[in-house]
Amino acid sequence: MGRALKARRPVQAPGPGGVSLVRGEGFFTGHFQAMGGPCEVLVDTDDGPEARAALDLARSEALRIEHKFSRYRNDNILHEIHTAAGRPVSVDEETAHLLDYAALCYEMSEGRFDITSGVLRRVWKFDGSGNVPDGEAVRGLLERIGWHRVGWADPMLTLPEGMEIDFGGIGKEYAVDRAAGLVSGATHSAFVVNFGGDLFAHGPRRGGRAWGIGVDDPDRTGEAVLYRIELERGGLATSGDARRFVTWNGRRLGHILDPRTGWPVEDAPRSVTVVAPTCLEAGTLATLAYLRGPGAREFLEAEGVQHRIL
């Protein structure tokens, strides 16, 4: 049995330049920074150059997707959409597929999963403090939220002025699956692509072993692994408040907001971990479950999803 890999953050800090490749017990681990967090690629091989090639592929795909869908750039499709001032924008095929996916998530979650809810971040700062925004400020923003206000007919997207789109809820999981697809075309070895805790395992490892994935204790994130999941092949993702929360009236409010109220989901589990055939599916199911608050467990059980709730 290999050691448990922490799903929440890399075991080893990235080296100079943010990119490093370290030989572990029978596998290589590559580290880099992307999509706002630490990323890892584990390759079950003794061949350094092979591991390096896998790392480079995963990293370039992560950076590509980050570049394309970052809200903080002025040279990408999101900038074009956000500066269109209510006029329709013609989007490329990849963006169109993501929008289709987001539209389905919106529909299936009855409006809880909404890629236009990012504007709430202007008033919510999840820094672990006790600061919650003014109720009036939140209500003011609700008028600028709602996928139903968006005109979407492939390839034309019409976003009302003042609204924003954020692929944060699916972008990282999508990047994991995309990167895993590219790496699988370049290596015959088993591997794991782990972007900030959302991961895809391509196995089994040599000797028929599964990858051991550690799930962090939400209270001691990055310090203690609470339990371990044996994953031979598939996607795994966790939604929760482990690192981003505010404390309000003695309650800990996670960073996942309900776009219908503008407030964090109430009575939500601390963390929801889901295993599914792809990271995208795992991440979406985890988020959809989390958004149901106390109904998370019931939802996942009804869906017949492999999961763990804390």
């Binding site: 950076l63 034309m156 009804a302 492999q306």
Partner: protein
């Protein structure tokens, strides 16, 4: 440890699985990052064209396109046309048996009352290459080269095109220039115009130059409706005569043909056209409609109306059917004539080529697109029936010619089989 949850499925999960698979399997090219691998596309088509009792064409074509991660692309195409059969020589029905000579020395005899044909056989090989490059975010330039060669014709051409995206890509403006240098080298030598076929000594190769300018605008009107207007002006100079076409001389009384002269066209021609196209997306299906108006300084004016309806039969399996209807009509060139009365003074220019006559055609066809499960690539099969006919009601003919069908309808069938593969 074991994870909770029995292996059941329900609606959310299964719909999500399908959607995730669709998104991840969409094969979105890695275009934005310079480290990505280029994408190659192979397109192979074969055109089979047949006119009843006339020409037959087989035209295999191979195109390879390579798209780089930065949006640049190169594409190269090799085409071969094999043409055999017969084409109207321009002569009138004889009234008695008549023969015509052909460039390759063959003879074709035609029955009394039938349109005389010239038989031919030719092989044309063409190559073209294009280089497209986006720059400064909103601009795209394309440079192209074309070369073709057949027994009696050589052509070398180049073109350049520049597009600019305006208003968030809602509007695209395109302008371009093209140049062609052709050489016509008639089999058997170059004949003098409106003569008895005497070859002009020492004149083998006849140059022809073509300059083209295009200007277009396409605009997304609504989310479902896209329109484009394109105009072009082409100026041709040099040898524009068809070396193998003739004009009959008929007896003023009986109408029987008594001889023939070669045709002669002006040495310049300015052609202009305006093409308006519209595409409208229904829920899944798409309607395409276009209208083209063409006119030139030879007096030819033509209109083409074209409608296609693409119906997505099974979008998941990429199966579609696209019926197609087109109508074409043109006025004859000022110097078009069905024939001359023997002894009458000849004009400076004249032709009996049906392609410069009062031509009409109706096209009915359909394209079927599909994929073969388990095999990569997309297939298309397009079949069209074209009926070409003319209006000879005002023909300037005498005697027996009035009884003949001077512009007989021609039935044409075409089939194009295409295969496209990304690799």
């Amino acid at each position: 440890m074991q994870l909770a949850g029995p292996p059941r499925t329900s609606s959310v999960r299964s719909r999500l699985r399908v959607a995730a698979c669709l998104l991840l399997a969409s094969g979105v090219p890695v275009l934005a990052h310079a480290d990505g691998a280029p994408i190659n596309t192979l397109d192979v088509t074969t055109l089979l064209y047949g006119e009843k009792d006339r020409a037959r064409v087989i035209e295999p074509n191979v195109r390879v396109t390579r798209i780089y991660p930065d949006g640049q692309s190169f594409s190269g195409q090799l085409g071969i046309d094999v043409i055999t059969g017969a084409s109207p020589s321009g002569a009138l029905p004889s009234g008695s048996v008549q023969t015509t000579t052909t460039p390759s020395g063959n003879r074709t005899s035609s029955e009394q009352g039938a349109t005389p044909l010239t038989s031919f056989q030719d092989l044309r090989v063409s190559f073209d290459g294009d280089w497209t490059r986006p720059f400064l975010r909103a601009f795209t330039s394309t440079l192209g080269l074309r070369v073709s060669r057949e027994k009696d014709y050589r052509s070398v051409g180049a073109n350049a095109k520049l597009s600019v995206d305006l208003m968030n890509k809602l509007t695209i403006l395109t302008g371009g220039l093209g140049f062609n240098h052709d050489q016509v080298d008639p089999v058997g030598g170059t004949h003098g115009g409106l003569g008895d076929g005497t070859v002009i000594p020492g004149r083998g190769v006849n140059p022809k130059e073509v300059h083209t300018a295009v200007l277009g605008v396409s605009r997304i009107i609504t989310r479902r409706w896209i329109m484009a207007v394109n105009g072009s002006r082409t100026s041709e100079g040099g040898y524009l005569t068809d070396p193998y076409k003739v004009i009959s001389l008929m007896d003023g009384e009986s109408g029987l043909t008594v001889g023939q002269v070669t045709e002669q066209r002006p040495s310049t021609r300015v052609r202009k056209d305006i093409l308006t196209t519209a595409a409208y997306h229904l829920e899944e299906d798409v309607i395409h409609a276009s209208y083209r108006y063409y006119w030139d300084d030879w007096g030819v004016k033509s209109s083409t109306a074209d409608v296609k309806y693409r119906s997505e039969v099974d979008p998941d399996a990429h199966v579609y059917v696209e019926p197609h209807l087109r109508y074409y009509t043109q006025t004859p060139a000022d110097f078009f004539t069905f024939g001359f009365v023997q002894g009458a003074a000849l004009p400076a220019y004249a032709t009996s080529d049906y392609r410069l006559g009062p031509l009409r055609s109706v096209t009915l066809g359909a394209t079927v697109g599909f994929e073969l499960s388990g095999y990569p690539g997309e297939w298309t099969v397009r079949a069209e029936y074209i009926r070409q006919y003319g209006d000879a009601s005002k023909a300037n003919v005498t005697g027996v010619q009035k009884q003949f069908e001077l512009f007989p309808a021609v039935n044409i069938g075409t089939v194009v089989i295409g295969y496209s593969l990304d690799f």
